[in-house]
């Protein structure tokens, strides 16, 4: 047998040669000092390369159960551009109806228009997994808006059930301490407020809508100082270390604190935070029922129109993140939040 090449030596040491090849190789190496030396060198090289790769190991963490793995991300990746497209539709709709409101237009009709703009977003959102490209949602916008005038009188039933069915709790993230939830969960889990007037329900509903709509309204929330924020939350508000805090705000209902932080000069992320009660599940039910009783239409539209927002629990707080970054980026930012010490 001629000398053994490096490939064969590595295959031999890797246990990837046939029994015949193994016998031949071993017989040769037993007689050939040069090949024996090379075999030792190959063995050392394999050990060394394996050791180097071992320096680049990820930390070992708990495996989530297989059945809890979330559905493929492809579908909700499509949801992000769609949510943006929907927000454009909403912004246009709100701008059109609120900005262009004329004295002769009766207020209730304007409100109906606004709700329908939300409903069209809800429908666009519901269509998201069916893979229409964002352009399709945009293209549909004018048609939907013109349809609003008719729909406002048709009084189509609000999609209450789909709201309940679409609470997107992501079990994988639960394992990691992070859950993907619908923003309207914030409303459902909120402690029941004193029965609000219709106007308050509306502003609250708008504030808790999707990420984009939330930004529209939440940026108008009252700015507060860290001290009152701590009083509201019963703990220090949280933020992402290293990022400048632009503002701390409180929701009109007084149970949600919003910390705005600048990623760069043009990008601001929002951290909505709320105190979690021990009996939050019963509170959630009560809140949901109370809210439904108080304003069934607002709640149902909220549920249908909700877009995904990431949330996690930090100490006694539930924290949601929103901002013009990808879901993954938001997710990673969210995982870094820590109490902001005054």
């Amino acid at each position: 047998m001629s000398h053994v090449d490096d490939g064969a030596l590595h295959a031999y040491l890797d246990g990837e040669v046939s029994p015949v090849e193994r016998t031949q190789l071993e017989a040769h190496v037993a007689e050939c000092g040069a090949c024996r030396t090379r075999l030792d060198e190959a063995r050392a090289l394999i050990a060394r390369a394996g050791g180097l790769l071992g320096l680049a190991q990820p930390p070992e963490r708990t495996m989530p159960p297989l059945h809890q793995l979330r559905r493929p991300r492809l579908t909700w990746r499509l949801r992000v551009p769609l949510a943006w497209a929907a927000s454009v539709v909403l912004a246009l709709g709100l701008g059109y109806y609120l900005g262009g409101e004329s004295p002769e237009q009766p207020a209730p009709l304007a409100a109906a228009h606004q709700e329908d703009a939300m409903r069209s977003v809800a429908e666009a959102d519901r269509l998201a997994p069916a893979t229409p490209p964002p352009a399709a949602a945009k293209a549909r916008a004018p048609e939907r808006r013109s349809a609003n005038q008719v729909a406002a009188r048709n009084d189509a039933p609000p999609p209450v059930d789909s709201a309940a069915a679409r609470v997107g709790v992501d079990s994988t993230r639960i394992a990691a301490g992070v859950v993907a939830i619908r923003p309207n969960d914030a409303l459902r889990e909120a402690p029941p407020a004193p029965v609000p007037s219709a106007a308050i329900v509306t502003s609250r509903a708008q504030a808790d809508l999707s990420e984009e709509r939330g930004r529209l309204m939440a940026t108008q929330w009252q700015i507060i100082r860290p001290g009152p924020a701590r009083d509201l939350l019963g703990a220090d508000p949280v933020g992402i270390p290293g990022l400048a805090v632009r503002n701390i705000r409180r929701s009109p209902t007084g149970d949600v604190v919003l910390v705005e932080q600048a990623v760069d000069s043009a990008t601001v992320i929002q951290l909505f935070q709320q105190r979690m009660e021990n009996d939050r599940f019963s509170l959630r039910r009560e809140a949901s029922e109370a809210a439904r009783a108080a304003a069934p239409s607002a709640v149902s539209r909220l549920g249908a129109a909700g877009a995904e927002r990431l949330a996690r629990f930090v100490g006694g707080l539930r924290v949601e993140i929103a901002g013009p970054l990808s879901t993954d980026s938001l997710n990673r930012l969210l995982e870094q939040v820590k109490p902001i010490k005054p």
Partner: protein
């Protein structure tokens, strides 16, 4: 089929995470991608799930790298991700430095050599690597021997004589 996949999940998940980690260099992202690959496998029920998973994972990692390049501007600040280890800061820096050196060394391999090496390290057999990479089965040993040698050489030259010398083949 689901039982098979459950078994593959148990035996392959960590390898897949390791494989992905050395492509995306982010532990959580690697886990995320691995889980997504398995979630897709649950839906697609592929014939050869193990091989399929690595193909899908490699594709996702490639897409991920492209996306990461686009988002780098935003993510620069995330580099200093806190990690709950008990190591002293200096040890941590040292570990980080060596990890970066391994990463740099791996980057110097040809894509094919690197892929073969990472697949082998993830527990794939020569047959599986051949299927995965399109290389002839008989060429895997040579490819791996070359990849290992280049990795060690690149690491040693990059670490400026860091004091680790082991016989090289």
């Amino acid at each position: 089929m689901p039982e098979d996949l459950a078994e593959i999940y148990r035996s392959t998940y960590r390898s897949l995470v390791r494989f992905l980690y050395r492509k995306v260099w982010d532990a959580e992202r690697a886990e995320d991608l691995a889980q997504e690959a398995f979630a897709r496998a649950l839906v697609h029920k592929p014939e050869n799930a193990r091989g399929w998973l690595f193909v899908v994972a490699a594709n996702m990692a490639r897409d991920e790298a492209r996306k990461a390049a686009r988002e780098r501007r935003h993510l620069t600040l995330l580099k200093s991700e806190p990690d709950a280890t008990h190591t002293e800061p200096e040890d941590q820096i040292d570990t980080e430095t060596r990890r970066e050196q391994v990463r740099t060394a791996l980057d110097q391999l040809t894509p094919r050599d690197r892929e073969a090496l990472l697949l082998w390290d993830a527990g794939m057999s020569y047959d599986e690597i051949a299927t995965q990479t399109g290389l002839a089965r008989g060429a895997i040993g040579t490819t791996l021997s070359r990849a290992r040698r280049r990795l060690v050489e690149a690491y040693d030259s990059g670490s400026e004589g860091g004091g680790q010398h082991v016989a090289r083949g």
